[in-house]
Subunit: 576 residues, 2 copies
Amino acid sequence: MLENLTSAQLKKFTLKELLALCEEAREIIISTVMKNGGHLSSNLGMVELTVALHYVFDFPKDKLVFDVGHQCYTHKLLSGRVSEFVTLRQKNGLSGFPKRSESEYDSYNTGHAGTSVSAALGLAKARDIKGSDSNIIAVIGDGSFNNGLVYEAFNSMRLLGTNILLILNDNGMSITPTVGSMHEYLEILSSDMAHNAKKDRHARIFERFGFSYDGVYDGNNLESMISKLTEIKNRLHHESVILHVLTKKGKGYSFCEDDPEATHGISAGASNIKEYSNILGNTLVRLAETNKNIVAVTAAMTPSLGLSEFFEKFPERAVDVGICEEHATILCASMAAEGLKPYYAVYSTFLQRSFDEILIDICSQNLPVTLCIDRAGISGADGETHQGVFDLSFLSLIPNLTVAVPKDIDEFEKMLEFSENFNSPLAIRYPREGKASFGNTEDIVCGKWQTLIKCNGKYLILACGERALTIAYEAGERLKTSNIAVSIVNARFVKPLDATLLNGIAEKYIITIEDNMLIGGFGSLIDQYFCGSDKVIKNFAYSDSFITHGGVSELMKELNVSSEAVSDYILKNENR
Amino acid sequence: MLENLTSAQLKKFTLKELLALCEEAREIIISTVMKNGGHLSSNLGMVELTVALHYVFDFPKDKLVFDVGHQCYTHKLLSGRVSEFVTLRQKNGLSGFPKRSESEYDSYNTGHAGTSVSAALGLAKARDIKGSDSNIIAVIGDGSFNNGLVYEAFNSMRLLGTNILLILNDNGMSITPTVGSMHEYLEILSSDMAHNAKKDRHARIFERFGFSYDGVYDGNNLESMISKLTEIKNRLHHESVILHVLTKKGKGYSFCEDDPEATHGISAGASNIKEYSNILGNTLVRLAETNKNIVAVTAAMTPSLGLSEFFEKFPERAVDVGICEEHATILCASMAAEGLKPYYAVYSTFLQRSFDEILIDICSQNLPVTLCIDRAGISGADGETHQGVFDLSFLSLIPNLTVAVPKDIDEFEKMLEFSENFNSPLAIRYPREGKASFGNTEDIVCGKWQTLIKCNGKYLILACGERALTIAYEAGERLKTSNIAVSIVNARFVKPLDATLLNGIAEKYIITIEDNMLIGGFGSLIDQYFCGSDKVIKNFAYSDSFITHGGVSELMKELNVSSEAVSDYILKNENR
């Protein structure tokens, strides 16, 4: 039924047909995600609500904003993208997130939590200014509801004098179970489904901000969603409404319903490579056994960061604050100010949200917080909003901050040991998966690099991090067949640079490789260092544009950060 | 009485003596601020409350965190810094903000709004982990209370299971009158001072987050503050308390009480130089008369950004969202997504808070938002947390963003005219005060620089922005006496660079000057551009450390971004 379905046809469907449509969507989502990877349980929970939205509202004239955006699969299926859906999250295929450039049905791109209410208010304000009459709807999960941006948007609701529908899709989870007082409050509202007088009293928080509160309803009940949305649609002319619905994460697929946490994100293909997160967890647990000052802070993704055991063993020294990245950063800074040794573990893309707090709270006070930055470099299938390719650039510009990049998992462990007694701000960035060891593991000294291969040739590669080092080794192997000798250095600190090593370089050609943007990254620091010298520097890094979704190595190849690109450069240089 | 006053002595004072102390503090604050500049009305409002805090609590064992931190003057006077107070905000003198390195009484450095609750929670959590028994107190104004960080901290209050005292210092103002629903809510609480039953009902929002609410009291009544704080001190063993007090901004100085907005910040010395903000306001008003798509967004500082007239003339196209910088950024992005032309005016230092939203919401969607970045470069007397010296670095690493720097006020106007039809993200950064014109004003073409002085010598200066150009001209004049010819280029775009001009440079020596950090800034882009060429590049920019408070030009000189430094470099080079 979904194939070639138009909005006009959908609106004529009977309830029975709509329910069949839901099942079809569910099947497509399950089969595609099991093959391509993606967000499974959250999308399964959203099927009926999305069908109801498309039945009641008129997209793309009406505008729909998904908070974070990972739950938009049914919306994609209902807006003319069924046949392309097999390409979900694949290079040149459909994005796993809303994307304006992909469809006029995608009103606003999202990726990070808590932005949808602000975005919906902006769309609504623009509608008012232009004098049009579209409806603006945002869908937000209870996990995102913790983020401070939501509060900032709420605070200006009345001020903006515009009306939106905010659907609070409450499944009790973000990636992990939702935490915090707002979540407890939502639970109170949910438990009062039958007691309307009491509920009205409880709902005052939302009314205070200018919303009429309406809830709680079963978001997986298609019929009730259709009638409720139809009713609300008429109210949107004169008021903003918050519709609180409960949905079941993983709905309709028992495997997911039973374990929504494990099935929030599914990776494509088998993976028996090691994960850096395991080392973070194991090492911090080991260090924390004897060092009572060690504390760990996360923002809603403790297990995927490898810290579940730490949280179990040291609950009094572990805090998951929910999706509140800025608050997490300041908590670390202030605990460090009182002599503790905080570790803030976070994905690279989400660290961007704490830029000001890293700069002001941590670094301008020179406090010994360690940032453990996972999913750094190209993260792959989630696309533009999730690539961790900016961190070396936005971190190295901050005074007092030391920036380290381990060459492999063994070295990451050494860096964590090093961090324990390092008394200044420290950032360690690493990809998700990695190689156990390139060998040559040694204790870490701040700013000291490691020469891994020393030749007496013309070429030296400064490789920053595991992916870069893999490329360097592969390029070196390939060049051996042409009798070209290449020295390789493990440039494990981006800041400070190893001036002693740099000053002693005999090779004329210096090649930098990194899994980061060219502008402001490791290579640019080397360019600056050697500016005016007679060295010839070549940087392999990502050029100045956003990196779409795709496989990690296929994207790196396309972006010319690959062993082929490096060996080609050297061969061409030889033959010039 | 303040001179050499110890905490032990203060605690023995009678009420009459304490009141006399307040008057003495007030006099010192007024006389110092009128001479040195600084935050006047907010500090005058805080005198009694601060004296009461020092009377009741035991600093530095107990910890006091000031939100933003500009209201800490009485605290400085009461913690052994009376004799140094004459040096307030002067180079090597007392900071106008809390500073851990200055005194053990300053528990946590602040500067940007909304961080105090998170910081207090971190200090409290650290206290619990260490098993000590200090009291943790945060003082926050109602303006900061709009910021999303406060909500994030509230959300994790129960989760952290720790107790703090949060004093809500409600004067109805931030720099401008406070806006938004939270402010309206505080007004409701304030208006109910006498009606306790009703108040209890209203106060549920705070209780929901784990605070016992206590208010509203007169924060300028010393006696009542002392008895209230004494009572609360005992309750902090078993609960967190939010104490809501009303204070009068500018209290005790009629000049301030009458116009607290104008006396929030006082500048030292006379100023008849032009301000860029006037041009922003006048030009946007002019453009908006005919272009109905232009909207302006600010975060709580409309007048100092020059936009008062715009807000009066086009209220339906102007939004001040309060101190919610991230929300403001997304509002602009989403309005642009619907075809409007938004201008977000903000100080450079506060733009740091929107790094993620500039990157994701504006630039990854390539939306035509114009960032008007005031107080860029060294801002002077407010110190580390307020210098606008990072923006060229953190902006130029973002794809799709064009970064422009006007050479003078006339060119700023041209850039605003250029922005009207520029259909991509654009940042324009400028200092507070400036020169009307260096002459040679011409229409702006994206990425095109302007040669101002063309010589056939060895030296060429690429000057980025007005302060850099002033240095370039001064150095050029000085070098004329040595018969050294220097070409000068107005490098008005940091991104994209003018490749045509760069490729045509005949001079061997290229000198870059900018009012920004060296790492990641304009100079580093030039270094990267010429890496491997035979040009000799010299960068004048700020080296990698935080810049303390002081006068703009004295700081620039000390940091070797000055005409003397430039001409010395060239002279030395000649004589080598």
